[in-house]
């Protein structure tokens, strides 16, 4: 198949050829980036949280005004919840993953550091925290009984003098103490509270997306027992089939433990529902991007079909002459497929450059990562395929032009 004559024919139809090339280039550029963003969103939606989500439910509760007995009430709440049938574990905590608010604290590796090392999120845990959430320890140990303090005592400044203990995530350990075991190491929470790491869990995400993707698992757990007015989260672990039953029972129990409290029904649900709601944004964006990709491919295909059909009609006489001179149907077909392949190639090359350009802009303005190189061949293949399939119809019509057309003068 001679490339040069095909190219020179295209040069004589510069406008239409340029249109196809531009359309393919633009579609390629957009699709490469869109596919990347889709995979990024999908990765977000599928991330590992570290929790046994399918076994957990959450109730959010608050008191009407101040509750002078909040610590005692919390303890009686927990006792009642743990006694419910089907409940494996129950705990109270200041925050849970998959919500948009969080408690964060800046930490430093040495006290005289000017800038904080990082700002992880802070989970206030009581005795059954690790077991309720199903977190996996990969180094060190859980908290010991004497390490726990009441949060209300700690926050009112009844100073301890003890070195506070903390459990951190593996990601955070890697960042703070790269290559070493974090167990036994210390850091400063806030300006002057020394904290020792006693254990490392495999995964625990922070509640919100604060800090971006790198900071997703910068979480630390403190043995400070919260009361129910610090965030108001009761988390219960049960069998997956009994979740709704346990949730209803828990709400009834908590209501029965005092009428001066409000249960926030719109935030009381299973963790699966919580996670689902939290990721609605990225999920919708991924769907939207997918629809846009499909739409672009359809539109480009229609454009190619339209212009190719036009060219075939314009060159009917010429095709007839070629056939009269001995070209087979297959050779006519191959001609048009090759022509389209050439145009698609030029378009794809331009499209890749544009894709990188677009990616640069997205990186600088919207904190996107760099487009991995393997997206380019994916986009290229998609568009080559699209072009070849689109031109097939018109090319077959060209191939069936009868040679007799050559002899007709009008």
């Amino acid at each position: 198949m001679e490339i040069r004559p095909i190219l020179s024919t295209l040069m004589r139809h510069k406008t239409a050829a340029a249109l196809i090339v531009l359309e393919i280039a633009l579609t390629c550029a957009i699709i490469c980036n869109a596919l990347f963003m889709i995979s990024d969103r999908v990765a977000q939606v599928q991330e590992v949280s570290g929790l046994v989500e399918n076994e957990l439910v959450r109730v959010q509760i608050t008191s009407i005004g101040r509750d002078p007995d909040e610590d005692a009430r919390t303890r009686s709440d927990l006792a009642a919840l743990r006694a419910l049938p089907g409940v494996k574990e129950a705990t109270v905590v200041n925050q849970v993953p998959f919500v948009n608010s969080s408690w964060n604290s800046s930490i430093r590796l040495s006290q005289d550091q000017q800038r904080p090392t990082m700002t992880p999120t802070m989970y206030m845990a009581e005795e059954r925290f690790l077991e309720t959430f199903g977190l996996k320890l990969v180094a060190g140990r859980g908290f010991e009984a004497d390490e726990f303090r009441d949060a209300s005592a700690v926050m009112s400044g009844a100073g301890t003098g003890d070195v506070a203990a903390a459990i951190i995530t593996r990601t955070m350990a890697e960042r703070l103490f790269p290559g070493e075991s974090a167990v036994g190491k210390t850091f400063y929470n806030g300006p002057d509270v020394l904290v020792r790491v006693v254990g490392v869990v495999e995964h625990l995400v922070r509640p919100s997306q604060m800090g971006g993707p790198t900071a997703r698992e910068y979480s630390m757990i403190f043995p400070t027992r919260p009361h129910y007015n610090l965030g108001g989260n009761y988390v219960i672990r049960t069998d997956p089939e009994r979740r709704q039953e346990v949730l209803d029972a828990a709400v009834r129990t908590l209501r029965a433990n005092g009428t001066d409290r409000i249960i926030l029904d719109e935030n009381t649900m299973t963790f699966e529902e919580l996670r689902d709601r939290f990721y609605q944004g990225p999920r919708s964006m991924a769907w939207l991007l997918g629809i846009v990709c499909v739409g672009l491919l359809v539109i480009t295909a229609l454009g190619i079909i339209g212009l190719a059909s036009f060219w075939v009609q314009q060159r009917t006489k010429q095709i007839g002459v070629r056939r009269a001179l001995g070209a087979t149907k297959g050779q006519i077909l191959a001609y048009f497929q090759t022509e389209n392949f050439l145009l698609a190639t030029i378009g794809i090359v331009l499209g890749m450059l544009a894709a990188y350009g677009i990616n640069q802009v997205l990186m600088s303005k919207y904190e996107l990562a760099r487009l991995p190189a393997y997206y380019l061949p994916i986009g290229a293949t998609a568009l080559w395929l699209l072009g070849q399939v689109s031109v097939l119809g018109p090319a077959r019509r060209a191939a069936s032009v009868p040679p007799a057309i050559a002899t007709r003068s009008v």
Partner: protein
């Protein structure tokens, strides 16, 4: 002649149904995508208080300790309680108010209505006149009531409807947390988009349900919400007056935008005084931004929405390129007819006009269908759980823009094909059929 060309265009569409349908569909998709994303963007990026936004200013000071200090960096996003109350007492602006968010339990007096948690705003008297809140009943409270820690409340229309059935509740009692409050006013329908006065709450959410004096809220130790940033030991209560924590928003209304310079000087003087008194450690570093500058600085429009806008434009561009190609094919396919018309006396510009009318008609048809598609798209947006979702609606301005955009885009797309069509030389076409 326009009517004649319109007639010819319609006939041509009837003869080439499939091709015309494809072109109309392509434009419709592009317009639909573009208008959906543009509408959402416009809703989110508009000026929430256009008649005043250049006279309302947000104050930022730098009270933190030297630890972590970087010269030239942005100061804290909110102010401390001490600074807010001090500035409020000095009253240097035309009007000023401090405010923060909170959550309170509302216990309706009526039987059968259980207590519920309501979003609150703790603020001072000038809030209502400063932001020109439309009042349905009554008014805000007075500065004296602020001083007196009066137990007065202003309700939103939604709260008033829920608790009092929509009646004029001014003077009525309402149990909030564990105290009884007197209703002094009800805010009419008001949904500033975005809720600019507090960048640390749901920016596109609904209005707070209850407005209470800040002084009263501290008196009763009511629960706060929003962002709190402490750089030192707050001794257990980060809301007490001397706490080293920023958690309050401070707004001031000035006589004119030009008065901003003088007010900024005042803030610098204040910071210098605080440093002299040993409270501030850092060099004076203040910010005074008006509403739009604040929104811009905080990048209020979510990234996803901006990216969707660019996607919409990209999609429209591809659809337009498509249309250019299809129009080119359509016009040049009729070279024979164009040649005849030229021979019969049509000048080049007449052929050009005829082609543009055809392109514009396709644009109009595409615009109609595109309008339907954008209504569908906006419906889909409204199903999202985002707080701004229900604001995604087409207004008359955007409706008109849809058609204008569709026609303009298709005429633009038709320029190149029309120019090529008018170049068709009459002589050559006539002999070779």
């Amino acid at each position: 002649m326009f009517g004649y060309y319109l007639n010819l265009a319609l006939r041509s569409f009837r003869r080439n149904r499939v091709l015309t349908a494809l072109m109309v569909l392509a434009i419709a998709l592009g317009i639909g995508a573009c208008m959906t994303t543009l509408t959402v963007f416009r809703v989110l990026s508009g000026d929430p208080i256009p008649h005043k936004s250049d006279r309302l200013f947000y104050v930022q000071l730098d009270p933190a300790s030297m630890q972590g200090y970087n010269p030239g960096e942005e100061p804290a996003g909110q102010v401390t309680r001490l600074d807010a109350e001090a500035l409020l007492a000095e009253k240097r602006g035309l009007r000023q108010a401090l405010m923060t968010g909170g959550g309170v339990s509302v216990t309706p007096g009526q039987e059968g209505l259980p207590p519920y948690l309501a979003g609150a705003r703790y603020t001072s008297a000038d809030f209502f006149p400063m932001f020109d809140t439309p009042m349905l009943y009554g008014n805000g409270w007075s500065a004296e009531q602020d001083q007196a820690r009066a137990r007065v409340a202003v309700l939103s229309k939604a709260t008033n409807d829920r608790v009092f059935g929509g009646a004029n509740s001014v003077g009525q009692q309402l149990r909030i947390d564990q105290a009884d409050f007197t209703v002094v006013g009800v805010v009419d329908d008001w949904r500033p988009t975005p809720r600019f006065y507090d960048m640390y709450s749901d920016r596109y959410g609904e209005l707070e349900e209850v407005f209470l004096p800040f002084t009263t809220s501290r008196d009763l130790e009511m629960g706060r919400s929003g962002s709190m940033d402490c750089w030192g030991d707050s001794q257990g209560d980060s809301t007490q007056p001397n706490a080293p924590c920023t958690w309050i928003q401070y707004w001031v209304e000035l006589e004119s935008p030009a008065a901003a310079g003088a007010y900024r000087d005042y803030l610098m003087n204040y910071s210098d005084q605080q440093r002299a008194a040993g409270r501030y450690e850092r060099p004076s570093n203040v910010r005074l931004r008006n509403v739009m500058e604040l929104l811009e600085h905080n990048r209020v429009v979510p990234n996803d929405v901006v990216m969707q806008l660019w996607l919409g434009f990209g999609f429209l561009l591809v659809c337009l390129l498509n249309t250019v190609g299809l129009l080119l094919a359509k016009f040049l396919r009729r070279s024979g007819e164009i040649g005849v018309r030229r021979a019969l006396g049509a000048s080049r510009s007449e052929i050009f006009k005829q082609c543009l009318v055809e392109a514009g008609t396709i644009g109009l048809a595409g615009g109609i269908i595109g309008l339907g598609l954008s209504l569908l798209g906006l419906w889909a947006v409204r199903q999202q759980p985002a707080s701004y979702a229900e604001l995604a609606r087409l207004d008359p301005g955007m409706l008109l823009l849809t058609f204008l955009l569709a026609i303009a885009a298709s005429v633009l797309a038709g320029l190149l094909p029309a120019w090529r069509a008018m170049q068709v030389a009459p002589a050559l076409q006539l002999k070779s059929q």
